[in-house]
Protein backbone atom coordinates (compact mmCIF):
# COMPACT_ATOMS: atom_id res chain seq x y z
CA UNK A 1 0.00 0.00 0.00
CA UNK A 2 2.64 2.46 1.06
CA UNK A 3 4.74 1.87 -2.00
CA UNK A 4 1.79 2.30 -4.24
CA UNK A 5 1.20 5.63 -2.55
CA UNK A 6 4.86 6.65 -2.70
CA UNK A 7 4.86 6.54 -6.45
CA UNK A 8 1.88 8.81 -6.68
CA UNK A 9 2.71 11.94 -8.66
CA UNK A 10 0.15 14.55 -9.51
CA UNK A 11 -2.95 13.02 -10.96
CA UNK A 12 -3.22 13.32 -14.75
CA UNK A 13 -3.27 16.97 -15.60
CA UNK A 14 -5.87 18.83 -17.53
CA UNK A 15 -5.12 20.01 -21.00
CA UNK A 16 -3.81 17.02 -22.86
CA UNK A 17 -7.27 15.60 -23.39
CA UNK A 18 -7.87 18.38 -25.87
CA UNK A 19 -4.72 17.63 -27.78
CA UNK A 20 -5.65 14.02 -27.84
CA UNK A 21 -9.06 14.79 -29.20
CA UNK A 22 -7.73 17.14 -31.87
CA UNK A 23 -5.01 14.92 -33.24
CA UNK A 24 -7.17 12.03 -33.18
CA UNK A 25 -9.23 11.36 -36.26
CA UNK A 26 -7.52 9.78 -39.21
CA UNK A 27 -4.12 9.39 -37.62
CA UNK A 28 -4.58 5.85 -36.35
CA UNK A 29 -5.25 2.56 -38.03
CA UNK A 30 -7.59 1.29 -35.34
CA UNK A 31 -11.11 2.27 -34.43
CA UNK A 32 -11.47 5.95 -33.65
CA UNK A 33 -11.64 6.93 -30.02
CA UNK A 34 -13.74 9.62 -28.55
CA UNK A 35 -13.44 11.52 -25.39
CA UNK A 36 -16.95 11.67 -23.96
CA UNK A 37 -18.10 15.22 -24.50
CA UNK A 38 -21.31 15.85 -22.62
CA UNK A 39 -23.65 14.61 -19.93
CA UNK A 40 -23.45 11.12 -18.51
CA UNK A 41 -21.47 8.93 -19.00
CA UNK A 42 -19.00 11.77 -18.76
CA UNK A 43 -15.58 10.52 -17.91
CA UNK A 44 -12.22 12.25 -18.14
CA UNK A 45 -9.96 9.96 -20.13
CA UNK A 46 -7.74 7.93 -17.85
CA UNK A 47 -6.34 5.07 -19.87
CA UNK A 48 -5.92 7.08 -23.04
CA UNK A 49 -4.88 10.29 -21.33
CA UNK A 50 -1.51 10.35 -23.09
CA UNK A 51 -3.18 10.78 -26.47
CA UNK A 52 -2.77 8.85 -29.69
CA UNK A 53 0.17 6.51 -30.18
CA UNK A 54 1.92 7.71 -27.04
CA UNK A 55 5.63 6.94 -26.97
CA UNK A 56 7.69 6.52 -23.77
CA UNK A 57 8.40 10.25 -23.40
CA UNK A 58 4.79 11.29 -23.93
CA UNK A 59 3.62 8.49 -21.67
CA UNK A 60 5.86 9.70 -18.81
CA UNK A 61 4.84 13.27 -19.43
CA UNK A 62 1.17 12.40 -19.13
CA UNK A 63 1.25 9.90 -16.27
CA UNK A 64 4.34 10.93 -14.35
CA UNK A 65 7.58 9.04 -13.80
CA UNK A 66 7.54 5.30 -13.49
CA UNK A 67 9.14 3.81 -10.42
CA UNK A 68 9.87 0.14 -10.92
CA UNK A 69 9.21 -0.44 -7.21
CA UNK A 70 5.56 0.40 -7.88
CA UNK A 71 5.31 -3.33 -8.20
CA UNK A 72 6.15 -4.02 -4.56
CA UNK A 73 4.14 -6.40 -2.44
CA UNK A 74 1.97 -3.43 -1.43
CA UNK A 75 0.50 -3.45 -4.91
CA UNK A 76 -1.69 -6.47 -4.17
CA UNK A 77 -3.17 -4.65 -1.17
CA UNK A 78 -3.80 -1.59 -3.30
CA UNK A 79 -5.52 -3.75 -5.92
CA UNK A 80 -7.68 -5.26 -3.19
CA UNK A 81 -8.66 -1.82 -1.92
CA UNK A 82 -9.33 -0.57 -5.45
CA UNK A 83 -11.93 -3.25 -6.19
CA UNK A 84 -10.54 -3.64 -9.73
CA UNK A 85 -12.11 -6.55 -11.62
CA UNK A 86 -10.87 -8.17 -14.83
CA UNK A 87 -11.78 -6.25 -17.99
CA UNK A 88 -11.46 -9.27 -20.30
CA UNK A 89 -14.84 -10.80 -19.59
CA UNK A 90 -14.85 -12.77 -16.38
CA UNK A 91 -14.86 -9.69 -14.08
CA UNK A 92 -13.01 -11.68 -11.44
CA UNK A 93 -11.35 -9.58 -8.76
CA UNK A 94 -7.81 -8.89 -9.92
CA UNK A 95 -6.20 -8.98 -6.46
CA UNK A 96 -7.75 -12.37 -5.72
CA UNK A 97 -6.52 -13.81 -8.98
CA UNK A 98 -3.03 -12.34 -8.44
CA UNK A 99 -2.90 -13.52 -4.83
CA UNK A 100 -3.78 -17.04 -5.94
CA UNK A 101 -0.80 -17.12 -8.29
CA UNK A 102 1.44 -15.47 -5.68
CA UNK A 103 0.52 -18.00 -3.03
CA UNK A 104 0.83 -21.26 -4.90
CA UNK A 105 4.46 -20.96 -5.97
CA UNK A 106 5.64 -21.31 -2.39
CA UNK A 107 4.23 -24.78 -1.87
CA UNK A 108 6.49 -27.81 -2.06
CA UNK A 109 10.24 -28.06 -2.24
CA UNK A 110 10.79 -25.91 -5.29
CA UNK A 111 9.59 -22.38 -5.60
CA UNK A 112 8.30 -22.14 -9.14
CA UNK A 113 8.74 -18.66 -10.57
CA UNK A 114 5.29 -17.40 -11.59
CA UNK A 115 4.38 -16.10 -15.03
CA UNK A 116 2.26 -13.10 -15.94
CA UNK A 117 0.79 -12.95 -19.44
CA UNK A 118 -0.70 -9.75 -20.83
CA UNK A 119 -3.62 -11.02 -22.89
CA UNK A 120 -4.38 -8.81 -25.87
CA UNK A 121 -6.03 -11.52 -27.97
CA UNK A 122 -9.36 -10.10 -28.98
CA UNK A 123 -11.01 -12.83 -31.01
CA UNK A 124 -14.43 -11.35 -30.43
CA UNK A 125 -15.38 -9.83 -33.84
CA UNK A 126 -17.18 -6.88 -32.25
CA UNK A 127 -14.37 -6.03 -29.83
CA UNK A 128 -11.63 -3.55 -30.70
CA UNK A 129 -10.90 -1.76 -27.43
CA UNK A 130 -7.86 -3.90 -26.57
CA UNK A 131 -6.13 -3.31 -29.91
CA UNK A 132 -6.97 0.37 -29.61
CA UNK A 133 -5.42 0.46 -26.15
CA UNK A 134 -2.30 -1.36 -27.35
CA UNK A 135 -1.96 1.02 -30.29
CA UNK A 136 -2.23 4.17 -28.19
CA UNK A 137 -1.14 3.31 -24.66
CA UNK A 138 1.20 0.32 -24.94
CA UNK A 139 3.38 1.70 -22.14
CA UNK A 140 0.52 1.82 -19.67
CA UNK A 141 -0.18 -1.86 -20.34
CA UNK A 142 3.53 -2.65 -19.94
CA UNK A 143 3.72 -0.62 -16.70
CA UNK A 144 0.94 -2.82 -15.35
CA UNK A 145 2.65 -5.98 -16.55
CA UNK A 146 5.95 -5.00 -14.88
CA UNK A 147 4.14 -3.94 -11.71
CA UNK A 148 2.20 -7.17 -11.36
CA UNK A 149 5.26 -9.24 -12.24
CA UNK A 150 7.19 -7.37 -9.55
CA UNK A 151 4.43 -7.90 -6.98
CA UNK A 152 4.66 -11.63 -7.65
CA UNK A 153 8.38 -11.57 -6.87
CA UNK A 154 9.86 -11.22 -10.35
CA UNK A 155 7.59 -13.23 -12.59
CA UNK A 156 8.31 -14.17 -16.18
CA UNK A 157 6.56 -11.68 -18.44
CA UNK A 158 4.75 -12.20 -21.74
CA UNK A 159 2.61 -10.19 -24.10
CA UNK A 160 0.18 -12.26 -26.17
CA UNK A 161 -1.54 -10.23 -28.87
CA UNK A 162 -2.71 -10.33 -32.49
CA UNK A 163 -0.44 -9.35 -35.39
CA UNK A 164 -1.89 -5.85 -35.87
CA UNK A 165 -0.87 -4.80 -32.37
CA UNK A 166 2.63 -6.23 -32.40
CA UNK A 167 4.43 -3.22 -34.00
CA UNK A 168 3.38 -0.74 -31.26
CA UNK A 169 4.10 -3.29 -28.54
CA UNK A 170 7.54 -4.10 -29.93
CA UNK A 171 8.38 -0.46 -30.39
CA UNK A 172 7.30 0.27 -26.83
CA UNK A 173 9.44 -2.57 -25.49
CA UNK A 174 12.44 -1.35 -27.49
CA UNK A 175 12.28 2.17 -26.07
CA UNK A 176 11.73 1.46 -22.38
CA UNK A 177 14.18 0.19 -19.78
CA UNK A 178 13.86 -3.52 -19.08
CA UNK A 179 11.82 -4.06 -22.24
CA UNK A 180 13.96 -7.02 -23.28
CA UNK A 181 12.64 -9.02 -20.34
CA UNK A 182 9.24 -9.31 -21.98
CA UNK A 183 8.59 -12.04 -24.52
CA UNK A 184 6.04 -11.35 -27.23
CA UNK A 185 3.88 -14.09 -28.73
CA UNK A 186 1.46 -13.58 -31.59
CA UNK A 187 -2.11 -14.77 -31.06
CA UNK A 188 -4.12 -16.17 -33.96
CA UNK A 189 -7.34 -14.44 -35.01
CA UNK A 190 -9.76 -17.05 -33.72
CA UNK A 191 -12.64 -16.46 -31.35
CA UNK A 192 -11.30 -18.80 -28.72
CA UNK A 193 -7.62 -17.71 -28.87
CA UNK A 194 -7.98 -15.46 -25.83
CA UNK A 195 -9.43 -18.06 -23.47
CA UNK A 196 -6.90 -18.30 -20.68
CA UNK A 197 -5.95 -21.97 -21.06
CA UNK A 198 -5.74 -21.44 -24.85
CA UNK A 199 -3.34 -18.55 -24.22
CA UNK A 200 -1.09 -20.74 -22.08
CA UNK A 201 -1.38 -23.60 -24.58
CA UNK A 202 -0.39 -21.33 -27.49
CA UNK A 203 2.65 -19.93 -25.71
CA UNK A 204 3.73 -23.33 -24.43
CA UNK A 205 2.79 -25.62 -27.32
CA UNK A 206 1.82 -23.47 -30.28
CA UNK A 207 -1.84 -24.50 -30.23
CA UNK A 208 -4.34 -21.78 -29.31
CA UNK A 209 -7.08 -24.12 -28.12
CA UNK A 210 -8.30 -24.56 -24.55
CA UNK A 211 -7.02 -27.48 -22.49
CA UNK A 212 -8.70 -29.63 -19.91
CA UNK A 213 -7.95 -28.20 -16.50
CA UNK A 214 -7.66 -30.56 -13.64
CA UNK A 215 -5.51 -27.94 -11.95
CA UNK A 216 -5.95 -24.21 -11.92
CA UNK A 217 -3.66 -22.12 -14.08
CA UNK A 218 -2.77 -20.20 -10.93
CA UNK A 219 -1.28 -23.45 -9.59
CA UNK A 220 0.08 -24.99 -12.74
CA UNK A 221 0.00 -23.09 -16.00
CA UNK A 222 2.77 -22.28 -18.48
CA UNK A 223 5.51 -24.93 -18.11
CA UNK A 224 3.88 -25.95 -14.81
CA UNK A 225 4.38 -22.54 -13.25
CA UNK A 226 1.75 -20.51 -11.40
CA UNK A 227 0.32 -18.46 -14.24
CA UNK A 228 -1.69 -15.30 -14.35
CA UNK A 229 -3.39 -14.44 -17.65
CA UNK A 230 -4.50 -10.82 -17.44
CA UNK A 231 -6.38 -8.77 -20.00
CA UNK A 232 -4.37 -5.80 -21.30
CA UNK A 233 -6.91 -3.21 -20.15
CA UNK A 234 -6.87 -4.72 -16.67
CA UNK A 235 -3.09 -4.27 -16.68
CA UNK A 236 -3.40 -0.63 -17.73
CA UNK A 237 -5.78 -0.14 -14.79
CA UNK A 238 -3.22 -1.84 -12.52
CA UNK A 239 -0.63 0.69 -13.74
CA UNK A 240 -2.90 3.59 -12.79
CA UNK A 241 -3.59 2.11 -9.36
CA UNK A 242 0.14 1.54 -8.81
CA UNK A 243 0.72 5.21 -9.59
CA UNK A 244 -2.22 7.02 -8.03
CA UNK A 245 -3.58 4.54 -5.47
CA UNK A 246 -6.89 2.87 -4.78
CA UNK A 247 -8.82 5.93 -3.50
CA UNK A 248 -8.08 7.78 -6.74
CA UNK A 249 -9.22 4.76 -8.75
CA UNK A 250 -12.49 4.67 -6.84
CA UNK A 251 -13.23 8.33 -7.61
CA UNK A 252 -14.80 7.07 -10.84
CA UNK A 253 -17.62 4.56 -11.06
CA UNK A 254 -19.81 3.25 -8.27
CA UNK A 255 -18.93 1.60 -4.95
CA UNK A 256 -19.80 -1.83 -6.39
CA UNK A 257 -18.23 -1.19 -9.80
CA UNK A 258 -15.38 1.24 -9.20
CA UNK A 259 -13.11 2.75 -11.84
CA UNK A 260 -13.62 3.02 -15.56
CA UNK A 261 -13.78 0.57 -18.42
CA UNK A 262 -13.26 0.73 -22.15
CA UNK A 263 -16.16 -0.32 -24.32
CA UNK A 264 -16.20 -1.14 -28.04
CA UNK A 265 -19.42 0.36 -29.36
CA UNK A 266 -20.82 -0.43 -32.80
CA UNK A 267 -24.21 -0.14 -34.43
CA UNK A 268 -26.16 0.13 -37.67
CA UNK A 269 -24.68 2.35 -40.41
CA UNK A 270 -23.91 5.24 -40.43
CA UNK A 271 -22.83 4.79 -36.80
CA UNK A 272 -19.06 4.48 -36.64
CA UNK A 273 -17.23 2.00 -34.42
CA UNK A 274 -15.93 3.84 -31.42
CA UNK A 275 -14.04 3.07 -28.22
CA UNK A 276 -15.31 4.94 -25.17
CA UNK A 277 -14.00 5.03 -21.64
CA UNK A 278 -17.00 4.97 -19.31
CA UNK A 279 -17.31 4.93 -15.53
CA UNK A 280 -18.35 1.75 -13.75
CA UNK A 281 -22.12 1.34 -13.57
CA UNK A 282 -22.64 3.66 -16.59
CA UNK A 283 -26.13 3.79 -18.03
CA UNK A 284 -26.36 1.81 -21.28
CA UNK A 285 -28.66 4.31 -23.02
CA UNK A 286 -26.27 7.13 -22.20
CA UNK A 287 -23.35 5.16 -23.61
CA UNK A 288 -25.31 4.53 -26.81
CA UNK A 289 -26.24 8.20 -27.06
CA UNK A 290 -22.58 9.11 -26.62
CA UNK A 291 -21.73 6.86 -29.55
CA UNK A 292 -24.34 8.56 -31.74
CA UNK A 293 -27.34 6.34 -31.12
CA UNK A 294 -30.14 8.26 -29.39
CA UNK A 295 -32.97 6.30 -27.83
CA UNK A 296 -35.46 5.15 -30.42
CA UNK A 297 -32.80 4.53 -33.07
CA UNK A 298 -32.01 0.98 -31.93
CA UNK A 299 -34.27 -1.97 -31.18
CA UNK A 300 -31.98 -4.20 -29.12
CA UNK A 301 -28.42 -4.20 -27.86
CA UNK A 302 -25.94 -7.03 -27.62
CA UNK A 303 -23.89 -6.44 -24.48
CA UNK A 304 -20.80 -8.41 -23.55
CA UNK A 305 -20.17 -9.79 -27.02
CA UNK A 306 -21.03 -13.11 -28.62
CA UNK A 307 -21.06 -14.74 -25.19
CA UNK A 308 -23.08 -11.86 -23.80
CA UNK A 309 -26.76 -11.16 -23.95
CA UNK A 310 -29.38 -9.16 -25.80
CA UNK A 311 -31.24 -6.46 -23.93
CA UNK A 312 -33.71 -3.77 -24.88
CA UNK A 313 -32.06 -0.34 -24.82
CA UNK A 314 -33.93 0.53 -21.61
CA UNK A 315 -32.51 1.48 -18.24
CA UNK A 316 -29.57 -0.82 -17.73
CA UNK A 317 -26.47 -0.20 -15.68
CA UNK A 318 -23.31 -1.61 -17.26
CA UNK A 319 -21.83 -3.47 -14.33
CA UNK A 320 -20.68 -6.96 -13.42
CA UNK A 321 -22.87 -6.85 -10.31
CA UNK A 322 -26.33 -5.50 -9.56
CA UNK A 323 -30.01 -6.40 -9.73
CA UNK A 324 -30.46 -8.55 -12.88
CA UNK A 325 -33.46 -6.65 -14.21
CA UNK A 326 -31.58 -3.35 -14.32
CA UNK A 327 -27.99 -4.50 -14.80
CA UNK A 328 -26.17 -5.96 -17.75
CA UNK A 329 -22.71 -7.46 -17.46
CA UNK A 330 -20.25 -5.67 -19.72
CA UNK A 331 -18.14 -8.82 -20.23
CA UNK A 332 -15.22 -7.79 -22.41
CA UNK A 333 -16.88 -4.42 -23.09
CA UNK A 334 -18.68 -5.12 -26.34
CA UNK A 335 -21.81 -3.07 -27.03
CA UNK A 336 -23.46 -3.68 -30.37
CA UNK A 337 -26.78 -2.11 -31.28
CA UNK A 338 -29.30 -3.51 -33.70
CA UNK A 339 -31.14 -1.04 -35.93
CA UNK A 340 -34.92 -0.83 -35.74
CA UNK A 341 -35.25 -2.48 -39.16
CA UNK A 342 -33.05 -5.50 -38.37
CA UNK A 343 -34.29 -8.94 -37.36
CA UNK A 344 -32.92 -10.08 -34.02
CA UNK A 345 -33.46 -13.73 -34.87
CA UNK A 346 -31.43 -13.46 -38.05
CA UNK A 347 -28.69 -11.59 -36.22
CA UNK A 348 -28.58 -14.26 -33.51
CA UNK A 349 -28.63 -17.07 -36.07
CA UNK A 350 -25.64 -15.50 -37.80
CA UNK A 351 -23.73 -15.20 -34.53
CA UNK A 352 -24.50 -18.74 -33.38
CA UNK A 353 -23.48 -20.13 -36.80
CA UNK A 354 -20.19 -18.28 -36.41
CA UNK A 355 -19.73 -19.57 -32.83
CA UNK A 356 -20.49 -23.13 -33.93
CA UNK A 357 -17.75 -22.76 -36.54
CA UNK A 358 -15.38 -21.40 -33.89
CA UNK A 359 -15.75 -24.40 -31.59
CA UNK A 360 -12.29 -25.86 -31.22
CA UNK A 361 -13.96 -29.20 -32.03
CA UNK A 362 -12.34 -30.92 -29.10
CA UNK A 363 -15.34 -31.57 -26.87
CA UNK A 364 -18.30 -33.61 -28.10
CA UNK A 365 -21.16 -31.57 -26.63
CA UNK A 366 -19.68 -28.37 -28.10
CA UNK A 367 -18.69 -29.92 -31.42
CA UNK A 368 -22.17 -31.41 -32.04
CA UNK A 369 -24.40 -29.24 -29.87
CA UNK A 370 -23.47 -25.80 -31.20
CA UNK A 371 -24.02 -26.68 -34.89
CA UNK A 372 -27.34 -28.26 -33.86
CA UNK A 373 -28.37 -25.02 -32.15
CA UNK A 374 -27.25 -22.98 -35.16
CA UNK A 375 -29.25 -25.19 -37.49
CA UNK A 376 -32.46 -24.82 -35.46
CA UNK A 377 -32.00 -21.05 -35.31
CA UNK A 378 -31.38 -20.83 -39.03
CA UNK A 379 -34.54 -22.83 -39.69
CA UNK A 380 -36.55 -20.40 -37.57
CA UNK A 381 -34.86 -17.38 -39.17
CA UNK A 382 -35.54 -18.84 -42.60
CA UNK A 383 -39.27 -19.03 -41.91
CA UNK A 384 -39.91 -22.68 -41.06
CA UNK A 385 -43.27 -22.86 -39.31
CA UNK A 386 -42.73 -25.50 -36.70
CA UNK A 387 -43.78 -24.40 -33.22
CA UNK A 388 -41.58 -27.04 -31.61
CA UNK A 389 -38.37 -25.39 -32.82
CA UNK A 390 -38.04 -22.90 -29.95
CA UNK A 391 -38.51 -25.67 -27.38
CA UNK A 392 -35.83 -27.66 -29.20
CA UNK A 393 -33.49 -24.68 -29.11
CA UNK A 394 -34.06 -24.35 -25.40
CA UNK A 395 -33.47 -28.06 -24.85
CA UNK A 396 -30.20 -28.06 -26.81
CA UNK A 397 -28.99 -25.06 -24.83
CA UNK A 398 -29.64 -26.81 -21.56
CA UNK A 399 -27.98 -29.95 -22.89
CA UNK A 400 -24.61 -28.42 -23.88
CA UNK A 401 -24.27 -25.91 -21.07
CA UNK A 402 -21.41 -26.61 -18.64
CA UNK A 403 -20.02 -29.44 -20.76
CA UNK A 404 -16.77 -28.37 -22.36
CA UNK A 405 -13.15 -27.74 -21.52
CA UNK A 406 -13.94 -24.03 -21.77
CA UNK A 407 -17.08 -21.96 -21.39
CA UNK A 408 -17.86 -21.69 -25.09
CA UNK A 409 -20.98 -23.89 -24.76
CA UNK A 410 -22.56 -21.94 -21.89
CA UNK A 411 -21.49 -18.63 -23.40
CA UNK A 412 -23.36 -19.54 -26.57
CA UNK A 413 -26.35 -20.86 -24.64
CA UNK A 414 -26.53 -17.64 -22.61
CA UNK A 415 -26.74 -15.59 -25.79
CA UNK A 416 -29.44 -17.82 -27.29
CA UNK A 417 -31.40 -17.77 -24.01
CA UNK A 418 -31.39 -13.98 -24.03
CA UNK A 419 -32.56 -13.97 -27.67
CA UNK A 420 -35.47 -16.28 -26.80
CA UNK A 421 -36.43 -13.83 -24.06
CA UNK A 422 -35.86 -10.46 -25.74
CA UNK A 423 -37.11 -11.50 -29.19
CA UNK A 424 -39.98 -13.66 -27.89
CA UNK A 425 -42.53 -11.78 -30.00
CA UNK A 426 -40.34 -12.11 -33.10
CA UNK A 427 -40.01 -15.85 -32.52
CA UNK A 428 -43.79 -16.14 -32.36
CA UNK A 429 -44.11 -14.06 -35.51
CA UNK A 430 -41.57 -16.18 -37.39
CA UNK A 431 -43.27 -19.39 -36.33
CA UNK A 432 -46.60 -18.12 -37.57
CA UNK A 433 -45.13 -17.27 -40.92
CA UNK A 434 -43.93 -13.70 -40.98
CA UNK A 435 -40.95 -11.66 -39.87
CA UNK A 436 -41.69 -8.41 -38.10
CA UNK A 437 -38.53 -6.78 -39.44
CA UNK A 438 -38.76 -5.15 -42.90
CA UNK A 439 -35.62 -6.95 -44.03
CA UNK A 440 -36.78 -10.30 -42.65
CA UNK A 441 -36.88 -13.44 -44.72
CA UNK A 442 -39.75 -15.41 -43.24
CA UNK A 443 -42.15 -16.64 -45.88
Amino acid sequence: MSQARDTRPSAPRDGYQDAYRDDFNGTVPTAPLQAPQHASPRQEPRLLAAGPEADWARHLEAFGPWEPQAGGPGLLDALGASGLTGRGGAAFETWRKATAAAGTGKKGVFTARPVVIANGAEGEPLSFKDRTLLAHAPHLVLDGLFALGGALGGAGLYVYAPAVTLPPVQQALAERPGGKRVRVVQSPETFISGESSAVVNMIGNGAAVPTDQRRRLSESGLHGRPTLVVNVETLAQVALIARYGAPWFREAGTPTDPGTRLVSVSGPAPVRDVVLEVPGGADLSAVLAEAGMPSGSVSAVLVGGYHGRWVRPAEHALSPVGPPARTVRPGAGVIHALGTDACGIQATAGIVSYLAGQSARQCGPCMFGLPAMASVLNRIAGGERNPRLTAELDRLGRLVSGRGACRHPEGTTGLVGSALEVFAADFRAHLSGYCAAPGGAAA
Partner: protein
Protein backbone atom coordinates in the same frame (compact mmCIF):
# COMPACT_ATOMS: atom_id res chain seq x y z
CA UNK B 1 -13.58 -33.05 1.52
CA UNK B 2 -15.89 -33.99 -1.26
CA UNK B 3 -15.22 -36.27 -4.21
CA UNK B 4 -15.83 -35.10 -7.75
CA UNK B 5 -15.80 -37.01 -10.99
CA UNK B 6 -13.96 -34.84 -13.49
CA UNK B 7 -14.72 -35.30 -17.18
CA UNK B 8 -12.02 -34.27 -19.63
CA UNK B 9 -14.17 -33.36 -22.63
CA UNK B 10 -11.16 -33.00 -24.89
CA UNK B 11 -10.48 -36.74 -24.47
CA UNK B 12 -13.95 -38.27 -24.13
CA UNK B 13 -15.22 -39.88 -27.34
CA UNK B 14 -18.76 -40.52 -26.17
CA UNK B 15 -18.85 -44.29 -26.49
CA UNK B 16 -20.69 -44.28 -23.16
CA UNK B 17 -19.04 -46.97 -21.06
CA UNK B 18 -19.17 -44.69 -18.01
CA UNK B 19 -22.91 -44.16 -18.40
CA UNK B 20 -23.38 -47.91 -18.15
CA UNK B 21 -21.27 -48.15 -15.01
CA UNK B 22 -22.85 -45.10 -13.35
CA UNK B 23 -26.45 -45.11 -14.57
CA UNK B 24 -27.67 -43.20 -11.51
CA UNK B 25 -25.10 -40.45 -11.99
CA UNK B 26 -24.64 -40.14 -15.74
CA UNK B 27 -27.15 -40.08 -18.57
CA UNK B 28 -26.26 -40.06 -22.29
CA UNK B 29 -26.89 -37.05 -24.50
CA UNK B 30 -28.05 -37.05 -28.15
CA UNK B 31 -24.56 -37.99 -29.32
CA UNK B 32 -23.61 -40.49 -26.61
CA UNK B 33 -21.61 -38.20 -24.33
CA UNK B 34 -22.18 -38.37 -20.59
CA UNK B 35 -24.51 -35.84 -18.89
CA UNK B 36 -24.57 -35.57 -15.11
CA UNK B 37 -28.15 -36.16 -13.98
CA UNK B 38 -29.81 -33.29 -12.17
CA UNK B 39 -26.73 -31.05 -12.32
CA UNK B 40 -26.26 -27.64 -13.91
CA UNK B 41 -23.31 -25.54 -15.02
CA UNK B 42 -19.77 -26.65 -14.22
CA UNK B 43 -21.09 -29.41 -11.94
CA UNK B 44 -21.53 -31.27 -15.21
CA UNK B 45 -17.78 -31.23 -15.73
CA UNK B 46 -16.79 -31.73 -12.09
CA UNK B 47 -19.62 -33.94 -10.92
CA UNK B 48 -20.11 -34.15 -7.14
CA UNK B 49 -20.42 -37.79 -6.07
CA UNK B 50 -22.33 -39.43 -3.24
CA UNK B 51 -20.28 -41.90 -1.20
CA UNK B 52 -22.47 -44.72 -2.51
CA UNK B 53 -21.34 -44.00 -6.09
CA UNK B 54 -17.65 -43.81 -5.34
CA UNK B 55 -16.73 -47.37 -6.03
CA UNK B 56 -18.51 -47.47 -9.38
CA UNK B 57 -16.87 -44.15 -10.23
CA UNK B 58 -13.43 -45.60 -9.50
CA UNK B 59 -14.20 -48.43 -11.85
CA UNK B 60 -15.30 -46.02 -14.56
CA UNK B 61 -12.09 -44.05 -14.15
CA UNK B 62 -10.12 -47.28 -14.51
CA UNK B 63 -12.07 -48.59 -17.49
CA UNK B 64 -12.62 -45.43 -19.56
CA UNK B 65 -10.84 -46.23 -22.84
CA UNK B 66 -9.84 -42.60 -23.37
CA UNK B 67 -8.58 -41.95 -19.82
CA UNK B 68 -11.03 -39.05 -19.80
CA UNK B 69 -12.23 -39.52 -16.22
CA UNK B 70 -10.51 -38.71 -12.94
CA UNK B 71 -11.52 -38.38 -9.32
CA UNK B 72 -10.77 -35.20 -7.45
CA UNK B 73 -10.93 -34.40 -3.77
CA UNK B 74 -11.84 -30.86 -2.92
CA UNK B 75 -13.20 -28.98 0.05
CA UNK B 76 -16.95 -28.90 -0.47
CA UNK B 77 -17.38 -25.13 -0.62
CA UNK B 78 -14.45 -24.40 -2.90
CA UNK B 79 -15.50 -22.90 -6.20
CA UNK B 80 -15.07 -24.88 -9.42
CA UNK B 81 -11.43 -25.03 -10.50
CA UNK B 82 -11.71 -22.85 -13.58
CA UNK B 83 -12.73 -19.62 -11.94
CA UNK B 84 -9.53 -17.93 -10.74
CA UNK B 85 -7.58 -18.71 -13.89
CA UNK B 86 -10.34 -17.07 -15.89
CA UNK B 87 -9.37 -14.84 -18.75
CA UNK B 88 -10.83 -13.21 -21.79
CA UNK B 89 -13.33 -15.69 -23.02
CA UNK B 90 -14.09 -17.00 -19.59
CA UNK B 91 -17.42 -15.34 -19.21
CA UNK B 92 -18.77 -17.11 -16.17
CA UNK B 93 -22.04 -18.88 -15.66
CA UNK B 94 -25.14 -17.11 -16.76
CA UNK B 95 -27.92 -19.33 -15.52
Amino acid sequence: MKTYLHIDWTSCDGRGLCTELLPGVLDRDDWGYPVARGKAGRERTDVPLRDADREAAEEAVFLCPKLALSLQQRAAQEPAPRTPGGGARDTGTRH
